[in-house]
Amino acid sequence: MKIRSSVFASLCLIFEIFGIALFLRGFFPVPVKSSFSSKSKLSDLPAEPLTGNSPNSSKVPASLFRRVVIVVIDALREDFVFGPKGQQYMPYTRNLVERGSSLSFVAKARPPTVTMPRIKALTTGSIPGFIDVVMNLNSPALLEDNIIWQAKAAGKRIIFYGDDTWVRLFPKHFMEYDGTTSFFVSDYTEVDNNVTRHLDSTLKRDDWDILILHYLGLDHIGHLSGPHSSLVGPKLLEMDHILKRIHASLISRETEGSLPNLLVLCGDHGMSETGSHGGSSEPEISTPMVLISPAFRRKAGMETPSTVEQVDLVPTLALGLGLPISQNSVGRLIQPVFQGTSLRDQLRFLHLNGFQLSCLLKDSMPAFEKEEGYEQFRVAEKSHGSWMKLYLEGNTSEVLSNMGRKVLKQYLEALQAMSAALSRQLGKYDMYSMVVGMVLVLQVLLLLLIAMPEALSNSAEVELPLASALLSLPFYLLCLLCCSVHVLVCTSAEASCYLCGLSWGLVLVATAFSCGLLCMLLSLANQKMSPGSRPAGKSSGDSCFSELDILLLIGTVGHVISLGSSSFIEEEHQTWYFLLNTLCLAVFQDVCRKYFRERRGTGDEGSYLPSKEGPPASLSPAGELSVGAGSEKWLALATPLLTLACCRVLRSLNQTGVQWAHLPDLGHWLNSQEHKAELSLLAAASLVLMFFLVQRRCSLVSKIALALGLLGVYSYRAAVGNVLFPWQPKEGRDLSKGTVEARFVYIFVLGILFTGAKDLLRSQVISADVRLKSRGLWEVYSGVVLLCALLLRPHNLPVLACCLLIQTVMAQFIWKELQYDAAQTTIMHYWFGQAFFYFQGNSNNIATVDISAGFVGLESYVEIPAVFLTAFSTYAGPLLWACHLVCYLTSEHHRSAASLGHGCYCFALLRSIPVVAYILLITALRYHLFIWSVFSPKLLYEAMHMLVTTIVCVFFTAMDQNHTSRS
């Protein structure tokens, strides 16, 4: 089957989208949530089960503890307390564990063992995935139901000292707080002293109920020199001393008759043998959890601590404090804590916990009724009811207590089963989906690469041996093999795979497709490898690489390699700026070479004179800025320099990334209140410049529409209050949402797009006129520009203007004159697009997405338009450059009929290579320390960019289609 390379590229991209979607589905487990940001209330608690119709006692359980002190020591490993290190360096704690009235456990933390997700787990009881971060994009605060919120709502006064992650997660929740930042890893004393200095005064006071301390020093020591460093001992001694002080103070304030106090010592995660954390190795996930309170029975000696889940602390604390359990908690209460209470209370607590878990199960699983734990809970609830009936009747026989113990056991089993069912869904990579997605994407990339010589040939057509692949024996064998592997995986795996849940028909189709792809790939490779079929003169392509080609190649490869480093992902903009600068200098060298002509060069460089009298003048008559041939050389020489200067100014407009993001930039300066006049002037100038650059190739109607639209953009910004009209008074204006103005602009955008589409259709159907077509394309492009102008913030309008300026001068003086081929032009466009993505102020962090663009012209939040507008404004830079590429290649069609196909193919390839490399990398690095903070957001950005590129490539293909049907 022979298809054009643009169609081929688009098809490949679409298949890659499927592969990426599958990968993402496996990489980000779907969160178990009843509902977002709703909180459980005390009044919603179920009544005590009771058979019969006697009045229910829905008594709210009373709290067991008066005050709670929670000491979180970052990276406290289990053996630092329970092992030989604990014996040596934490004598007081060890004594409490062995002989005091305390309960000790080994709490298992779930990966990612990084502080922020761990804090979330310790407070919400859920197992946070990355998707949570995306869901509450806008605010770093924790919106989910959590114990801190519940405590505050119940009127508890909370004091917090320690890691400022807590302060960011729970703003306004603490009566008093002092956050220390974990920014300077090399500091391990000051960071803890800043916490301890508050201790004395706080412990003396009586005005708080919950005190939370989070010590970072141990974690810093671990990062610096590992768990066996000599620094660990003194730090543990210091922590032990602090615990002693707190415990002594709590005991001295224990009064007769009131409730006992509780001291909790826990770690948020452990530490590997090298001192890092984030992964899922045993020392990283094992943390100690010691609960100390006079309410517990004194122990006689050291017992081996039993194992619990870290999230179990949440229901335990909540019930101990008389609070409702937070909705999304998957923990089950730690039963020994409640040993001292009456059997009735114990059953009540277990029932509450079970009820909450069953609710969560109902919400998160469609087939919850078949779940074993749910059935067990139903049974236990029933027998609990009959026990209650007997109990209330005053029965006090042996039978009753035996029956009660049986109910208790039933409850505990039910809790365990439900909790296990819930957490199976969470915090685990679905490796099967990930691998299948990865294989699919990899196959497509290899197909793209293998077809490169054909796709970039003059005919721009790719021969795909579809029929022979589908009719061959290996194809059927492979299908069979894949199906059996699928059955094997799905029957053996304990984890729930997404793919195993799919229907058989879909799986069969997918298998056949993937195998077909593989067979095709193999037969293509076979064709290429077989001697004699190699087209003659192919080797000449390798030898004539110019410096520019080498740079483009090195840049592409180097960027892909740089994705392996978290710093380079955080500072990816630096990579692109750097490459772009080098590109401009290389282009400058090319221009110099062309105009200060080398005599000794080969003849091809001397051929620039005749090309000037070629057809371009006839193609875009009104389009070109009219310049004499003499000044043309100087303009061409000045163009790369102008581009360089523009890029330098733009890069100081928005500081982005992580390391230097705090530096002052022009954007902040312009946005401050006192520089409104400058901002207005700049915005107006940019809009005028944009008008002059865009209007020159539009029809008259579009010109007028464009002018009015740009005016509308300015008045929208004035209405919102970003910029000023000169005749407006500085103060005392009423700000509106600017809905009318924005909708006014939308109308013009749609109008221009419509005109463009009409021209495109006419050029295809009726006249087959290239000029009409290129005008239509340009009108579509100007519509896109107008929409960008509306959505981008006013201080980013210069980015847009510079983008148009660079496109204009580069197209006229460089790409046309220096006769770069379609592939080179495409790569340059891609690089520019990437750099402009960052010039806009974007970064690889989710937090920089400008959500306000989603509200332009809308009265309230409407999901679909808001998402579309936000995505559009985020990817405005790459989109504009891609659109310009289409316009440019179409207008250059006379030079090579296949240029659009080549452009489309290169574009697809340029996007596929980093995406596939990144997917491979992220699979290898899935237990990296920064997987959630750095790598995952980048994965989302890459996937989104892939989607945008696919849409552009389909557009490309449509444009290419017209040409072929015409010729």
């Binding site: 710093s567 955080e570 630096q574 200060f596 990334g657």
Partner: protein
């Protein structure tokens, strides 16, 4: 003949390379607390100074500089003045390029300029020594296949290596390792120096293994017809520019 030239080049390069080592070691005896990271600018000046001095002396003694037509004192003085001017211009040019690459505009301007001085003394100064202050010769040497002697080739290689070294030296800066050598402009200047040293090693080796480079006949040269034709004098383009825009060097040399 060629072997002799290569031997001469090897010894000259050895001297220049050793001068860099000396410039790194010597300040230890004169400056308190001298270290490459701590007192980076001192090291930088010491290296660029010694490289300049040694370059000038070596090439003076070897007599590679282009034959001068006149031997009058005023001509020599004007040559020297022009060389200085070119050097300063190249410093400014490098500074501008580095700022375009993203160096801060105002703060740490001294560091940036020092890097520019180092780059100039590693690249421009050698060109000045070998080729003299003539733009045409420079364009000839740095255009494709423009090298006519072993020294031209060596110039090409060392210059390219220094610039690429500085270019590569910028890559570690965004890494969050908090190492002393990541401070601006240490990694870049170290990169440039290492690149230069590599160039000094590679150049003789490359010439030794690629004897065909110099076998070529010197062909019609830019040297004579020069680039003046591109300044609008050639009839084929036929569009003379206003005389004000002509380059001064063009007027003085060949037009």
């Amino acid at each position: 003949m060629r072997d002799l030239e290569i031997k001469g080049m090897v010894s000259a390069h050895a001297i220049i390379a050793s001068s860099i080592f000396v410039a790194t070691v010597m300040p230890l005896f004169f400056v308190d607390n001298f270290s490459i990271y701590g007192t980076h600018l001192t090291w930088l000046y010491s290296v660029s100074g010694s490289v300049s001095v040694v370059n000038i002396t070596v090439f003076w003694l070897l007599g590679i500089s282009p034959p001068t037509k006149k031997h009058t004192l005023s001509y020599k003085v004007s040559r020297a003045v022009r060389s200085c001017l070119y050097f300063i211009l190249s410093c400014l040019l490098f500074h501008a390029v580095v700022v375009l690459y993203g160096a801060p505009l105002l703060e740490s301007a001294l560091e940036t300029f020092s890097l520019a001085v180092l780059l100039s003394s590693l690249t421009t100064l050698r060109c000045l020594c070998v080729l003299g202050p003539s733009v045409q010769a420079w364009i000839r040497v740095f255009s494709r296949e423009g090298a006519m002697s072993v020294w031209d080739t060596s110039l090409q290689i060392t210059t390219a290596c220094s610039v690429i070294g500085a270019w590569l030296g910028a890559f570690p800066i965004p890494l969050d390792w908090d190492r002393p050598w990541q401070v601006w402009p240490i990694s870049c200047s170290l990169g440039a120096t290492f690149g230069f040293l590599t160039g000094l090693v590679i150049a003789p080796a490359w010439i030794h293994w690629h004897p065909e480079v110099l076998g070529r006949s010197p062909g019609p040269l830019l040297w004579e017809s020069g680039m003046c034709d591109t300044f609008g004098v050639r009839p084929s383009i036929g569009l003379p520019l206003p005389s004000s825009s002509r380059s001064p060097c063009c007027l003085s040399r060949c037009c």
